[in-house]
């Protein structure tokens, strides 16, 4: 237990926390801190702030602490928390919005996760489909984890689980236009 001085919380920080909740379509006051979300979360053991505590930080307006947490980046979006919440709070949505706000604030505490999602979409924008073998290779290059999963690569090739040929859609312009429109309206 430690003391939290709430008189120093700025109105801006409170407003930013409220905005995160609004985007997730959640009323922060619905949460009475039962902790069922954290108990069921498959990743909470490795999180600095389990889901319940992320919500607590937002309730108190402690924006920086919420945005610096690794948890939204470790969240696998499995939705167990949202399904089990006795108050029907979409905690998965909160984790998603904290993650987006954390990225906007330049705080990504697990950069690998951000690198991976961005690479995935970049490649889909280019080909219209995902090619797992090239995604894995690019991820290793971009993240600096050069040898990760390389032990499985020969087996995957020999078993025909991945090939050399990349798949793509024919009407790639249509897919690119969709990406461009969605990227434009991102914060609308």
């Amino acid at each position: 237990m430690h003391t939290v001085n709430l008189s120093n919380v700025s109105p801006d920080a409170r407003a930013a926390c409220a905005e995160i909740a609004r985007k997730a379509d959640v009323n922060l006051r619905d949460c009475y801190q039962c902790g069922k979300c954290s108990a069921g979360c498959p990743m909470s053991e490795d999180m600095d702030l389990p889901p319940r505590q992320v919500i607590r930080k937002l309730q108190l307006g402690l924006l920086d602490e919420a945005l610096s947490a690794s948890s939204p980046w470790l969240c696998a979006q499995c939705q167990v928390c949202s399904v089990r919440c006795p108050q029907g709070i979409d905690i998965t949505g909160i984790m998603r919005e904290v993650r987006r706000a954390s990225k906007a604030a330049g705080k990504r505490s697990l950069p690998e996760s951000d690198v991976f999602e961005d690479l995935f979409l970049k490649k889909v924008k280019k080909k219209g489909r995902s090619n797992e073998q090239y995604l894995a290779a690019s991820y290793n290059m971009s993240s600096g984890h050069l040898m990760q999963d390389m032990g499985s690569a020969p087996k995957m090739l020999s078993k025909g689980l991945v090939g050399v040929k990349a798949q793509s859609v024919r009407d790639i312009d249509a897919v690119r236009k969709i990406f461009e429109k969605c990227e434009e309206g991102r914060d609308a």
Binding site: V80, V83, V124, G160
Partner: protein, 302 residues
């Protein structure tokens, strides 16, 4: 009677890491007269990457393929094999069908004329329909011989509940129903709907391995001899990571991990190769062979 003609969305893993799912599904489909007509020029559903990054993209990418399906295969329900594709396509369909405003918005993003007129389903959901399940059972050449299987659903077949409405989100039992009807004796266990760790096996392997280790541990503790999945990412994260879990965490799991369609295909007469078993990391052929021993041979041995 369930109409067995579908507009088929294969998804990006269908020809790669999910290829044994595809080939075993096709085998089963052929045996029960199910027709899968591929959506021409489908694109990636966007999966969790689009979902987490951009709300518009999350709806627009899958909707392009749904709109193509409406054009190419009017009135035909869309079927996906991959659980992630299914979940994303279904969510997009539900979103567009919810209001005129949503429909107009997503149409403006994809620049097409989608009507949200057709439903989205998945291969498991279809095979567990009572009349289809009867056809499956009728097409079996041999039974699953009391196989002790742990049916693993993962996340996306059962959550978000209000979208998929497929089975009980905490204790689904439809896969067990199907495999038991095929002669298995599926075990009751606690980790049916636990997350496999998804892409965290790449971005945060240590945390993700623990999720998989708990799944193996619980399956084994409840007497399972094998795990059965209905999702290509779940399959890969269990089958490919089992050996890594053992070496990284000092465990000794050797549970084969099957797609439910692989075992059904074999019971229908497919060889191990035809069912896709040679593509597994954890050896899967010996256990399957032990299930499909000819009863005559057993009698002789006695």
């Amino acid at each position: 009677m369930t109409d067995l003609t579908f507009s088929y969305f294969p998804g990006c893993s269908a020809e790669s890491t999910g290829s044994s799912f595809t080939q075993s599904m096709n085998y089963v489909a052929e045996k029960i007269g199910m027709k899968l007509e591929e959506i021409d020029d489908w694109c990636c559903c966007g999966t969790s990457a689009a979902r987490i990054t951009n709300d518009d993209l999350k709806h627009a990418l899958p909707t392009r393929s749904l709109a193509l399906s409406e054009q190419q295969h009017p009135g035909m329900p869309v079927i996906a094999s991959c659980a992630a594709c299914y979940s994303v396509l279904k969510e997009a369909q539900v979103y567009a069908a919810e209001s005129e405003e949503n429909l107009a918005h997503v149409n403006s993003l994809i620049d097409m004329d989608y009507h949200a007129s057709i439903d989205v389903t998945n291969i498991l959901e279809v095979l567990v329909q009572p009349d289809v399940q009867e056809k499956v059972v009728a097409a079996l050449k041999t039974k699953l011989n009391g196989a002790k299987l742990a049916c693993y659903y993962g996340c996306l077949l059962v959550r978000p509940t209000e979208v998929v409405q497929f089975d009980n989100p905490e204790n689904p039992t439809k896969m067990e129903g199907l495999l038991n009807a095929c002669g298995a004796e599926c075990v009751d266990w606690s980790f049916k709907t636990e997350c496999c760790g998804a892409s965290n096996h790449i971005v945060s392997p240590k945390a993700a391995r623990k999720a998989v280790e708990r799944i193996f541990r619980n399956a084994k503790a409840n007497g399972a001899d094998a795990i059965v999945t209905a999702c290509p990412l779940c399959w890969l994260n269990l089958d490919m990571r089992e050996d890594q879990v053992n070496s990284e965490m000092g465990t000794d799991y050797h549970l084969p991990v099957y797609y439910f369609t692989e075992l059904i295909a074999m019971a229908m007469g497919a060889t191990a190769d035809e069912a896709g078993l040679k593509k597994h990391f954890e050896p899967a052929e010996a256990y399957a062979a032990s299930l499909f021993k000819q009863p005559e041979a057993e009698e002789v041995a006695k």
